[in-house]
Symmetry: C2
Subunit: 156 residues, 2 copies
């Protein structure tokens, strides 16, 4: 039985990334790129009071990716991991999730910092970033180990 949930963009990303190769990747990649989340006018009222948040979750679609792989070797490691253990773009439902810093709102445009997606990327949802797990309670799986290996070999 195939169940499908059709999703419709609430807006689009406007930024300077026109090619995935321009986006910093891997351990310690700094996502400082600024741009605008341009929300469609019919949803503008849904942004009411969003100015009060410093950070937002953005859920979006890797719309220029086709297909997926269950195993993936990320740029941060030299061994394959399950797609759900990674942020691979080639994933079922090709959903992206990014935490951005809200700089300012201008009408239905949200000026943000921390974009790691391409210009024109469809946005499906925006939610307030409310809380965080204390760093001490966090285990970072294979990524922590890969970072440790990279540090030990002096590559980081």
């Amino acid at each position: 039985m195939e169940i499908l949930f059709p999703m419709q963009p609430i807006g689009y990303v406007q930024n300077a990334y026109t090619d995935a190769g321009q986006i910093p990747k891997g351990c310690g990649a700094q996502h400082k790129a600024e741009g605008v989340l341009q929300i469609l006018p019919e949803y503008e009222q849904g942004l009411t009071d969003i100015e009060g948040y410093s950070h937002l979750y953005v859920i979006w679609v890797f719309d220029r990716v086709e297909g997926f792989d269950l195993l993936w070797t990320p740029p941060t490691d030299n061994r394959p991991h399950g797609v759900f253990s990674t942020r691979s773009p080639r994933r079922p439902n090709r959903l992206g999730l990014t935490v951005v810093e809200l700089i300012k709102r201008e009408g239905n445009g949200l000026h943000v910092r921390g974009l790691d997606m391409l210009d024109g990327t469809p946005i499906l949802d925006i939610k307030p970033y409310l809380s965080s797990i204390p760093q001490d309670d966090l285990r970072r799986g294979w990524l922590g180990e890969a970072e440790k290996r990279a540090n030990e070999s002096g590559k980081a």
Copy 2:
């Protein structure tokens, strides 16, 4: 021009919540409910190495909600806010996002703590929870103010 991205469940939530009224809501709601993210067998390989993470993002669908409101008065406040400033279930694309703690993996079942969705909820994606914004850098918008008001009036 209507652009649609069809999403297909990669699995379903198994837990004890059969009615939305059973799910704790509002300021300081504790989500300690345990349950299982039952991933479809064809995606099991995508879970490889997920055991190494303490926390995961789950992206899911409020599948029993129909329609949305651009303004919403949440249980934590007595005034309306834009839907994208809240975690309202009645939102465009009705996507849910939850951070869960991974207790253990059994085959294609992930035993987790921190569920705030109903039994049978369709799961669209799972991603590692990697980092967090330092608490000191975080502003919590209208929610911070609503909490402050609740505290001052002795209700919290």
